[in-house]
């Protein structure tokens, strides 16, 4: 193993040099498993920078196929793999960059029925998905399993990122949004458009936050309890302080043991759209 390890130290020397990082963080990264849900505009840069940094295992969940109209923002794919599964395409790009990373792909949509099984084996989860339903499913599974969730989103010229369920006080997505937005108020990249560098910036930041958490960086302040908002048209960033974990939250509050992700009626939840009390 000496040869392998010395090769790795040279490969990662530029980050091992950092006083806050060092050999200890590199060894930690090599042991960690990170799951990327969604191999699109956010998942592509996140996967590449996590692989570059030397994460031990990278899981990629996606059931979509590469389309040419994805390529303006999904820079981990290529024209020649159009029509092929995105998770396979991204795995190939990741392995070409760093063959020492273990890549596991799941060619399924994440649902309330497979979420716990898929997520359970990982240390950290990245929400790189593109719809409200999956975001609640990912959140609820991570809350149930107490997995830190690095949640990114992008649309138009705007991006957002925060970390959920990463500490006792840290809220989950449901703590902040106990009710989903009305479907007509929800934009998607396919329907509303998005400029490529917007998910690029947010995906890179998701990789950064994941590295800080996975490598246990001293002096780092991950985006726990903070929402970073990016306005790409004006190139402005704002940070907002979020509420703490809610004791009333059905998935991470005081009665969360009553919650069953498999039995929960997500269809009604996403369709109901009742306003919450202010």
């Amino acid at each position: 193993m000496t040869t392998k390890e010395s090769w790795n130290i040279s490969r990662y020397s530029r980050q091992i040099l950092l006083p806050q990082f060092g050999k200890k963080s590199q060894e930690l990264l090599a042991k960690k498993k990170i799951l990327i849900i969604g191999a699109g505009g956010l998942g592509c840069p996140a996967a590449l920078y996590l692989a570059g940094a030397g994460i031990g295992t990278l899981g990629i969940v996606d059931n979509d196929m590469v389309e040419i109209s994805n390529l303006h923002r999904q820079i981990g794919h290529k024209e020649s793999l159009s029509g092929k599964p995105k998770a396979e395409s991204l795995r190939e790009t990741v392995q070409n960059l760093n063959s020492s990373v273990q890549v596991h792909i799941v060619l399924q949509r994440l649902t309330q029925f497979n979420a716990i099984e898929i997520i359970a084996g990982y240390d950290i989860v990245l929400d790189c998905t593109d719809n409200v339903l999956t975001r609640y499913v990912v959140n609820d599974a991570c809350a149930a399993l107490s997995k830190p969730l690095v949640s990114g989103a992008a649309i138009g010229w705007d991006g957002q990122i925060t970390v959920y369920s990463a500490s006792v006080d840290c809220p989950c997505y449901r703590c902040i949004f106990p009710e989903p937005p009305p479907p007509k108020c929800v934009g998607s990249c396919d329907a509303s458009g998005v400029l490529g560098p917007i998910p690029g910036v947010i995906g890179c930041l998701q990789a950064l936050e994941s590295i800080k958490l996975a490598a246990n960086i001293e002096d780092a302040e991950p985006l726990i309890g903070r929402l970073l908002v990016f306005d790409g048209l004006e190139t402005k960033f704002r940070t907002f302080q979020l509420r703490k974990r809610s004791s009333n939250c059905i998935v991470c509050g005081d009665s969360s043991e009553d919650f069953s992700i498999v039995e929960y009626d997500y269809a009604s939840f996403i369709g109901l759209n009742e306003s919450f009390t202010i």
Partner: protein
């Protein structure tokens, strides 16, 4: 007559004619945030009100911040606004 800065983001600026920042004055001594929201709904927003409110309440999926802090920590609609406050309304995004 506290003057406040209203900020709209994450797409909500489309409700205010593309203005991300709207200054506003309110007469009276104890102006609560609920009154500000009511003014936004009835006077500032001209159409598609359902993107901002549902009945009496802010619609789900909008985060309200008082001087960059989640309004849950500040009393929500009963918060008494202060001169120079920044009140931010951000729609949460779901694309990727």
């Amino acid at each position: 007559m506290p003057q406040v800065e209203l900020q709209f983001g994450g797409g909500l600026e489309s409700l205010t004619g593309g203005n991300k920042v709207v200054p506003a004055n309110f007469s009276g001594e104890q102006v609560v945030l609920g009154r500000v929201i009511d003014w936004i709904r009835t006077c500032l927003i001209k159409e598609k009100h359902e993107y901002f409110v549902q009945g009496e309440h802010i619609r789900p999926g909008i985060l309200v911040l008082i001087n960059d802090v989640d309004w849950e920590l500040e009393g929500k609609t009963s918060y008494v606004i202060q001169e120079g406050d920044r009140i931010t309304f951000i729609s949460t995004l779901h694309g990727g």
